[in-house]
């Protein structure tokens, strides 16, 4: 990002004095707006705007076969795509690196370990017939406009999209033979809602100078020394953590950041939940 020395100093000085270039405090988010049901073809979708950052998440559910090592669990995969509309450098394969970085960070923050233990989404609720049929959930994120803090926005969009998701109810035909693929009947009318209370939010704390801030804009991100993304659920438990950026952090600072993230997450979850509820109400009226 082309910033002059003066601009850089202004951003850093502002953060040191707890008043940022757009007038926010260090731990204040930009206004968040949530819109659900933006992609009617998907099982669930949402669009989240945080300032000039604009992302869309869609959820698609398909029937699949569970992994042999975890026969009682469904599968969830997360892919993120960075549209060149957000930044010309994403043209062609230019956005691939960032896309992969965001996808893996989201997987780490939302899906837990390889076994699916500790995942924000309860994978065993996706199983239909153990070892035979399960739901494959594909979560696709798209970055339409980027002004920093993409990970938090994507996390919020995925949370909103999942609460918007309706998964068809499935009837399993009761033919008992164990080695045959069971016949399943997917209902067109009855849908099940996802339980989204356990899905965490992602808080990224960006360290600029000696202080750290939440919801950094692209200008502020260009001045960062390192950033820690922490996903926290409603109970205040940490579900995942990633650190980005070159500079090293003192372990005590990381612990301090985690407690700050936990504190901030309460406000963000409340704000998101009320926004999602408002968006859902608005969606149902239409």
């Amino acid at each position: 990002m082309g910033l002059s020395l003066g601009e850089k100093n202004f951003i850093k000085g502002g953060i040191a004095q707890d008043i940022r270039t757009d007038g926010r405090k260090r731990l204040t988010y930009r206004p968040v707006s949530v819109e659900t049901g933006v992609i009617p073809q998907a099982s669930g979708s949402a669009r989240v705007k945080m300032g000039a950052t604009d992302v869309i998440a869609s959820v698609k559910a398909e029937l699949g076969k569970p992994n042999a090592s975890h026969p009682d669990k469904g599968r969830v995969s997360i892919y993120v795509d960075c549209s060149p509309t957000a930044e010309p450098t994403f043209e062609g394969r230019g956005g691939e690196e960032l896309s992969i970085e965001l996808s893996t960070a989201l997987q780490r923050c939302l899906l837990g370990g390889k076994s699916g233990a500790g995942a924000g989404i309860d994978l065993s609720s996706l199983s239909i017939v153990e070892g035979k049929v399960c739901w494959d959930i594909y979560i696709d994120g798209l970055v339409v406009s980027s002004d920093g803090n993409l990970l938090d926005a994507l996390g919020a969009a995925i949370k909103a999209a999942l609460s918007n998701t309706a998964i068809p109810k499935v009837e399993v035909a009761a033919n008992a033979s164990s080695d045959e693929q069971p016949e399943v009947d997917v209902s067109d009318e009855e849908f099940l809602q996802f339980d989204t209370t356990g899905i965490p939010v992602i808080i990224t704390l960006t360290k600029v100078g000696r202080h750290y801030i939440v919801d950094a804009t692209a200008e502020e991100e260009s001045q960062m020394s390192s950033a820690v993304s922490i996903s926290v659920n409603r109970q205040g438990r940490i579900c995942g953590l990633t650190k980005r950026g070159g500079a090293g952090l003192d372990p005590s600072i990381i612990l301090d950041m985690i407690s700050v993230a936990k504190h901030v997450s309460e406000q963000l979850i409340d704000k998101l939940d009320s926004e999602i509820a408002a968006a859902e109400a608005c969606d149902e009226e239409l």
Binding site: Q41, D81, S83, T85, D140, L142, S145, S146, D147
Partner: protein, 241 residues
Amino acid sequence: MEYVSPEGLRLDGRRPTEMRQLRAEVGVVAKADGSASFEMGNTKVIAAVYGPREVQNKGQQMDDQALVRCEYSMANFSTGDRMRKPKGDRRSTEISLVIRQTMEACILTHLMPRSQIDIFVQVLQADGGTRSACINAATLALADAGIPMRDLVTSCSAGYLNNIPLLDLNYVEDSAGGPDVTVGILPKLDKVTLLQMDAKLPIDIFENVMQLAIEGCKAVANYIREILLENTKKLEFCRGV
């Protein structure tokens, strides 16, 4: 299959010469120099324009005119079945090329030598007529970016099924295998800048179908003009003039 019922209604309840509902918005991508979203029924696209700016790849720089580039991409969730590998396939490359050529024809490139204009279109939902929707969105985005143009290019498609010319095909009608004529026009200059057709059609019928598509383009042009006027009034209001 019957695409037009005996009462003269299409599968989605439209009359043969009726267009889907249009919706457009200017300035949807804050960071871009110009941007717009354009919806034709369930087809929804976003276009963003960056430039005129310095040429990124010096080898492509032209001393007498601006370089216009375009990239068309489809979101993974834009189609009914999830796509896995959307980037850089033949179809998107072809559509990028078509959009680039159509837009280049109306941009006054000679006014901006040694510079580059990037047009990025992103399909959020595909339900037939993405080509047209992308061109319409790109026109709006270029106008929003304040890039000098000869005219507003607009585009619309028309087809011919069950012996009836149909305006603005949706996905089901498009995949019926009948002819699909996509036309792009410069409405004020009354010139055709884009014309594509697949499948065969007798010449006299082709004339009617093309005429129908041109009427569609003109309707789109009126709508785009309205949106731009509204946007300009809003900008004027913001400046307090």
